[in-house]
């Protein structure tokens, strides 16, 4: 197949979100099995209903996110057979993502047919039995696979058999379904890397009549109506992007007619539409949504053609504003073109241009940015501003599957960074500057409390990452438990603030060689020599192992990690492989390596 056919199929699916466009993209993916630009993804789908109509949309949605899925489809309602046989085709396929697609009618018909004589304790017992059965299946999968599991919750039934009585009954059909979903979630939370696909909300948004196809349910156990196929595929696509660290990280906002109604330079401070009444209330709701994103760890930046002092005055003192300067990670408020300004923001924040979403009301600005920075996702302010708030929620652009303490603190970390840059301007030399920061690093073996953050860093770090191996929480736990592995993390603070857990190294031991499997650092702390503190400690750890004489490290080139291409070379390692994208480096560990003298290192264990 010509690459242009694939490009056409991709472009068509991107612009017209229809079953046809998705089917044609899925067909194109099947015909070009070795096409470049896609990452392979081994997908397993276990199911107790006919999911086949949903598979092409899922494959297309994954393709739009850059993944070529190779799907193992379990037999109809035969999940246990796959799961309880450790040599089953499921485990032989070595899946990297496991979707468990369940329909309640097949799983537990007794919970969908209503018996008014059933007492609440009997109902609870029936629910527990079903949920425990699912937990057993998933625990069993966990014993053989560390792949993330995505299991769905259940949609409401159209109309309860109890009619209006149902709403009066705490053990009625609707309440029972809510209980099943809540218990399912609670069980999932006890298992590592198990996530819930929200069928409940996807079906609710469409309505039962649109989402469920009674004809094909009876004919072929295929309950999904045509209108729900794309929304469900998008749910799985969003979850995959979140798992693979492809969620957007930064929201860049225009000000006039975007953050508020009206133009500051023409209408003036007093003339802005922003507050409790229409249309100002629409902009206020939009700002509320922005603040939620900020709390979830998204970086908020302003990019506006205005006088900076005027905009900052609105942020500081307009009574209708919810967004304040303290919520911003960066801003470029000047008369330069917006593509240039967005590049400045991206450089200042040290993030990838493809993690940016840009919102503006001007067709011209959107097209300008799109043409110059095609990796930026642009969103237009809708003509009807009551729909403004919702644009931030579309396509699950910023969606993640976990939340860590660092997410809520992220903006403050960047504000601290701005202060440090001020400090740097006043220092005479780099040495003075680094010394003036009073850096302190604590290096420890990773404990259970750090697993979420460490896995998150392996999934999200793109630039200072030697191998870019993405690990799940269960992978990290497996490494911690493995006596042939060491997982190290580094916490950093300076005189301005604590920066938290910012660097990770994973060492794997062989008989006389230790391989540095992973070496990464958050781009927030670049330029301080932190990597040298961690590398020194890694080499000390390796040296302390009896019989190990050589440390090796690998550089795997990606689109984003050129800055570490010569990392090992510059630190005295010699090259073991010929030139190419994949480079392996080695060094003798006979001599001890010292920590940089401008960083106070507290290491556990202490090593010479």
């Amino acid at each position: 197949m010509e690459p242009s056919t694939m490009d056409q199929a991709l472009a068509r699916a991107r612009s017209e979100k229809t079953l046809g466009a998705y089917a044609s993209l899925s067909n194109a993916m099947h015909k070009a099995p070795n096409g470049a630009d896609f990452k392979a993804l081994k997908l397993a789908v276990l199911r107790n209903f006919t999911v086949e109509p949903l598979l092409p949309p899922i494959e297309a949605e994954f393709a739009l996110s850059g993944f070529r899925s190779e799907t193992y489809l379990g037999d109809f309602d035969a999940i246990a057979a796959d799961v309880f046989d450790s040599e089953s085709r499921l485990f032989a396929s070595q899946p990297e993502l496991i979707i468990i697609a369940l329909w309640l009618e097949t799983l537990a018909p007794n919970l969908t047919r209503w018996d008014v004589r059933r007492t609440p304790p009997e109902l609870d017992a029936a629910i527990e039995a079903v949920v425990e059965q699912l937990a057993t299946l998933m625990r069993r999968v966990r014993e053989h696979s560390t792949a993330p599991i995505v299991i769905n919750n259940f949609p409401l039934v159209s109309r309860s058999s109890l009619g209006i009585l149902d709403a009066q009954d705490p053990a009625g059909q609707t309440q029972a379904l809510l209980t099943i979903n809540r218990r399912l979630l609670e069980i999932c939370r006890t298992l590592p890397d198990v996530f819930v696909a929200d069928y409940f909300c996807a079906f609710a948004e469409l309505g039962y009549a649109n989402a469920i196809d009674e004809r094909y349910w009876h004919k072929a156990r295929a309950p999904l109506g045509q209108k729900v196929l794309l929304p469900l595929a998008q749910v799985y696509g969003t979850m995959l992007r979140a798992l693979k660290g492809r969620a957007k990280k930064c929201l860049v906002l225009d000000c006039d007619n975007t953050l508020w109604g009206g133009i500051l330079g023409e209408d003036g401070f007093e003339g802005l539409e922003l507050g409790a009444t229409y249309p100002g209330s629409c902009f206020r709701d939009f700002q509320r949504e922005i603040l939620t994103l900020q709390q979830r760890g998204v970086l908020i930046a302003l990019c506006s053609k205005n006088n900076e002092a005027d905009v900052m005055n609105v942020l500081a003192s307009h009574p209708g504003m919810l967004l304040r300067q303290s919520h911003l990670a960066a801003w470029q408020i000047n008369w330069d073109d917006k593509a240039t300004n967005i590049e400045r923001i991206v450089n200042e924040l040290n993030i990838g241009i493809d993690s940016v979403v840009f919102v503006d009301d001007s067709e011209f600005e959107l097209e300008w940015v799109q043409a110059r920075l095609p990796a930026v996702r642009t969103l237009a302010v809708p003509k009807d501003v009551s729909r403004l708030r919702a644009i931030l929620l579309q396509d699950g652009l910023f969606d993640t599957l976990s939340y860590s303490h660092e997410d809520g603190e992220r903006t403050r970390l960047y504000a601290d960074e701005r202060q440090r840059k001020q400090l740097a301007k006043s220092a005479v030399s780099l040495q003075d500057y680094l010394a003036s920061l009073e850096l302190e690093a604590s290096i420890d073996f990773v404990s259970e409390a750090d697993v979420v953050r460490v896995a998150q860093l392996t999934q999200k770090t793109n630039q200072f990452n030697l191998t870019t191996r993405r690990y799940s929480e269960s992978d990290i736990r497996r490494f911690i438990a493995d006596p042939q592995c060491q997982v190290l993390c580094l916490r950093l603070k300076d005189r301005i603030a604590e920066m938290g857990l910012v660097a990770v190294a994973i060492i794997k031991y062989g008989t006389d060689v230790a391989e540095i499997d992973t070496f990464l650092m958050s781009c927030r702390v670049l330029g301080r020599g932190v990597e040298d503190a961690l590398l020194a400690h890694v080499l000390k750890c390796i040296r302390a192992q009896p019989g190990i004489r050589t440390a090796t490290g690998t550089y795997v080139a990606t689109a984003r990690n050129q800055q570490v291409e010569q990392f090992y070379e510059r630190r005295g390692f010699s090259r073991l492989t010929p030139a190419g994208e994949f480079a392996r480096w080695g060094i003798e560990v006979a001599a001890t390596r010292e920590y940089p003298d401008w960083i106070r290192v507290h290491a556990q264990p202490r090593l010479g």
Binding site: L19, G20, A23, P56, Y216, Q226
Partner: protein, 80 residues
């Protein structure tokens, strides 16, 4: 109403994974090897999606070749 005809051909081409030029009066499970029961299910869902119609149970069984699909869509108010 050439555009509707073209749209219908595109739906069949997308779902059965055949070139759009090959879709015509003879297109049926006898001439298209990929047209099995699972593809029939996908095809019906895609037809409903593309033309914003809902087929009855009988119509789902009836639409077993290109001319019959056109007739059923016409019954449902789609103009060709």
């Amino acid at each position: 109403m050439k555009a509707t005809e073209q749209k219908l051909k595109q739906v069949l081409a997308d779902q059965l994974d055949i070139p759009v030029e090959s879709v015509g009066e003879n297109t049926s499970p006898d001439t298209v090897p990929t047209w099995d029961s699972m593809h029939h299910l996908r095809l019906v869902l895609a037809l409903e999606n593309a033309f914003d119609v809902s087929l009855t149970e009988e119509q789902v069984v009836e639409v077993m070749n290109y001319p019959l699909i056109k007739i059923v869509l016409q019954e449902l108010g789609v103009e060709f």
